[in-house]
């Protein structure tokens, strides 16, 4: 996959207000089960529809921590191979469904976006702060947050 490691971006190339490259995810029930094993979170509301409905939910939902990890990947890709992710913060403001059965994963598209809000140097570290968000297929934001990365300098 050609974009497995995005090209390195440098501190000097970033301006406040810049949007960073988006990341699109298509969570499916299969991915939620994979995440349960990867993260160790086996709460049934993420893979058992009747259990989820007994707790008042309409259906199974994407794990909050998986949405956090998606935002982490957005920042990892932005920071590039020479950068560093310093902070990933988000609030889970709403439930996000996962594609099930014959549903197209595209219908449950979840897009990660970010915008640079501040850049500064602290000691020898070039720090970039961002507003980040997870956006549903209908355009509503379920997962707003903030991120901080350290970028390399061209200097």
């Amino acid at each position: 996959m050609s974009d497995a490691v995005p090209d390195q971006i440098y501190f000097e190339d970033i301006e406040v207000g810049d949007s960073i490259p988006e990341l699109e995810k298509n969570p499916t029930s299969q991915q939620l089960v994979q995440w349960a094993a990867g993260s160790g979170d086996f709460y049934q509301i993420h893979y058992d529809t009747s259990y989820a409905q007994d707790t008042g939910l309409d259906d199974i939902i994407v794990h909050g921590a998986l949405k956090h990890a998606f935002l982490g990947e957005l920042l990892w890709r932005f920071a590039g191979p020479e950068g560093q992710v310093k902070r990933v913060q988000c609030s889970y403001r709403g439930m996000d469904p996962a594609a099930q059965g014959r549903e197209s994963a595209q219908e449950k598209k979840f897009t990660l976006r970010g915008t640079v809000t501040r850049k500064y140097t602290e000691g020898e570290r070039n720090i970039v702060e961002l507003n980040i968000e997870g956006v549903r297929a209908d355009g509503s934001v379920s997962t707003p947050g903030q991120g901080v990365v350290v970028l390399p300098s061209r200097g």
Binding site: Q34, A69, E73, P81, V85, V88, Q89
Partner: protein, 172 residues
Amino acid sequence: MADQQFESVITDEMKALIGVKGPETVSELTTTSVRMFARSVGYVDPAFYDEAVAQERGFRSLPAPPGYLGTPIYNPADSDPTFGGRRGGGGFRSPYPLVLNGGTDIEYTGEQICAGDTLTSATALASLNERWSGALGVPMLIQVSETTYTNQNGKVVAISRGTGISYPAPGG
């Protein structure tokens, strides 16, 4: 619009737990556990899968993807089957049975976190609040827990703040 009235479930005993660190949990990162986590997020960066690539990029071994702070070491004989190992705000237990995740905030100190590391963590309850959920029609208890992760060399590698939302069964 006035909030729906409801009875507080926060007791003095609960408030007394704020700031008190709970027992330590030991978590490990292995090459397999890093790869499993990375796959489950959907990473295709070879640094998470190929140790030679990770080392070329300056990591000691496969790096932990953001959000991965190890897998707790536990025996199911004495653990929670849902989350494994110990979880939550120290000794705090919500009186409500159902739980949602309200938010996650992880700050990294800059120390590498890689396969082969062992992280020791301890959690303290940071705050307790209540509000009415219009969506579910029930009161909600909102707890923020702060967990500090220290590596095998005694260095703090990350501080995580988790917001837990617990609530009674709707209509129950």
